[in-house]
Symmetry: C2
Subunit: 410 residues, 2 copies
């Protein structure tokens, strides 16, 4: 075992944790004691306030007040009808958005469809451009829309030369800000500006951004965005997703999935669709209230969180991880694929390893829970709300032990 | 007060309840004691097993096992990945469907979009025909699809002359089996046959059918169907909805909302979409596990229910209600709009009343919870799993008292 952490490092990690302004947030999560959870970018941990909220919604709002809960306490904005709007209002500050620019509900995939269809209409063009390595569902949804419309092309290009493919026939560019495999973060502002210079409408996937650091959709001039509620937002498995549409597009942004909950007056039961003002029109059918309530409660965790401190801690955790992993990367066939530059990093760190699937299976067995991503990626997510530098140190020690065991000491 | 129930009636009602083979099911629901709930066709009551299941999913599956729950216990089919399929398998017998013909997830509106798009492609035609009085979201979704495609017409016709409008240019007919206002049930088999004779593909909305009586999609030869989980299926507010596609169409039924959870191998992370076999392809994004688990638990209520007995009791409840309301309908401006013929009735009874909104508000105030539906409909839903004939009698007595108070005794 050549790779145990020096005692010096452990003391340094403790010192970093001692001055962590977010250290108190960990107590707001119900984390199992026997693992180090580096997979909050796949499924965020359970906020302690969620089970009580779920119980209250089920037994009181549903069980006792029943149908009346849809409109009950509307004057205090406690009605289910306004629940999507309440959640949107909590989410908006994390996105650099106005509450009226955000719609909450459905899955990320379904929201991607809505955003792509609306963006394509705005553009007046027939090409959707995306990263060939984008998260598959983004590509699948674009492919589905293209199949439906018949005359739309889905074009892909390598992520690192994306802007070179911003040609005048491209209508929409669909990009994920933080790559799900490499953790590389794109420059949303610069790419959006380059897109606009060519008349291209942007759709940003914030799956690995929202809740990990302050997103600034308004500042970046983004047109549309979508993202998921169950990663860094900790909204629970398959939590409702969100859709952003910039205020300047609200007049013309058409919702093709037009349902009654996005109607200007749902209970008027009019025969013709009339969109609600603001992003609310992108709410389609009846929201899944139980899941949405869990997300609502989960977002309260962010109520007192300084987003600057969140980012600072995230970078400190990933910097620490990368630094502690350096000796291992020298000894074993580990290739860091996450950028070192802070501006290009999300809140995860990934390494290629020729036996990544086997290594990750063994790590999980030993209580170091990260993700394997095909074909050869070891992915480690760092949620600043509930991880400490001490966790990082223990994780690296565990990774060292597993690599030693699997491959023999260097 | 001329309208109190004669004692004779009360004894008759008690006798009917005494021989009700479903009487024991009421204890499986957590119903408030201070109301008579005639609105299970809007939001089904809370099955007692649901809160415990929600708590277990939140604290154990999410909180403790975290991301591992997606694949954990897959060999026992207890993994979240297969949860939509497990729910589909429980739902299928209520629909007269095979489990592989049913997909569970998303909202009814979103599923309507998927079904309409797939049906339209199968038909090769460009006209969607629907009932002018269909539930608005069905019309809105059709309108949205037509806006997106540009060359599709949404045509509406009066419900009672629908088959006269089955012309050779119609590609898809979108009909709700049980009308949400009148409670009139259509002859699914006859209308489907008439549609097929003209080469028209059918999409049936089962919102007010599923769980209310045995639906026989297979026997009726239906092509597609959609429906909601939160009415007679008691799956909770905004519960996941379902989509049915007949086995004979599975080879060619295209899903335009193609997401990773409907991919043949989601974790392969392939760049090109390849549909899962069976209706599973109509699952799009990550399912909202909390809401879906509630529906899963709720469907267990049907495990020992004989669907013939369910229908028999439903008709007995609505027959009893109509009969007891007869004296009121003579004294007050109440017009029964629900058909008397059993074959044409769902599990609700509706009356027109010139001040329906005011009457329903007062009824709800008095603990008789039904629905007002614009412009002048008093709607009363009868869920045979948790209502008794005694409830029906007490409800009518309450309606009589409210009408007496609002309009003066006759």
């Amino acid at each position: 075992m050549t790779t145990l952490l020096p005692a010096l490092d452990l003391a340094q990690l403790d010192a970093l944790d001692a001055r962590d302004p977010l250290a108190h947030k960990r107590a707001e999560f119900d984390l199992p004691g026997d693992i180090i959870y580096l997979d909050g970018n796949s499924l965020g941990a359970l906020p302690r306030r969620v089970p009580a909220r779920l119980s209250q919604v089920a037994t009181e709002e549903w069980g006792h007040h029943l149908i009346r809960s849809w409109t009950r306490n509307a004057e205090a904005a406690q009605d289910w009808m306004a629940l999507p709007d309440r959640v949107a209002a909590k989410l908006a500050p994390l996105l650099g958005a106005g509450a009226h620019e955000v719609a909450v509900g459905d899955s990320t995939s379904v929201n991607t469809f809505k955003a792509l269809a609306a963006a394509l209409r705005l553009s007046g063009r027939r090409v959707i451009l995306s990263d060939a390595d984008n998260f598959p569902t983004d590509l699948y949804v674009a492919q589905g829309l293209a199949r439906l419309l018949g005359d739309v092309e889905v074009r892909t290009a390598p992520g690192d030369e994306m802007t070179q493919h911003f040609t005048d026939d491209v209508g929409v560019v669909l990009l994920t800000e933080v790559d799900y495999r490499t953790g590389r973060r794109l420059d949303m502002r610069a790419i959006t500006a380059a897109a606009h210079a060519r008349g291209i409408v942007t759709v940003w996937d914030l799956a690995h951004s929202a809740g990990a650091f302050a997103v600034d959709l308004g500042g970046a001039g983004a047109d549309f965005a979508i993202g998921c509620g169950y990663k860094f937002l900790n909204g629970g498995p398959g939590a409702p997703a969100f859709l952003y549409v910039a205020e300047r597009h609200l007049d013309r942004a058409e919702v093709v999935l037009s349902g009654w909950m996005g109607h200007a007056d749902p209970f008027e039961m009019a025969r013709a669709y009339a969109p609600a003002p603001g992003a609310r029109r992108f709410v389609v059918g009846t929201p899944q209230v139980l899941s949405l309530s869990a997300l609502d409660a989960a977002l309260d965790v962010f109520g007192d969180v300084d987003l600057g401190a969140l980012r600072e801690k995230s970078l400190s955790l990933t910097d620490t991880f990368i630094r502690l992993m350096e000796p291992l990367a020298e000894q074993y066939p580990l290739e860091l694929v996450t950028p070192l530059a802070h501006a290009e990093r999300g809140s995860q760190v990934s390494y290629r390893h020729p036996h990544a699937q086997q290594v990750m299976a063994q790590l999980i067995e030993c209580g170091i829970v990260g993700d394997f991503r095909t074909p050869d990626i070891l992915r480690f997510g760092f949620t600043p709300l509930y991880l400490s530098h001490g966790d990082v140190g223990r994780a690296v020690a565990g990774i060292a032990a597993v690599l030693d065991e699997l491959e023999g000491p260097a």
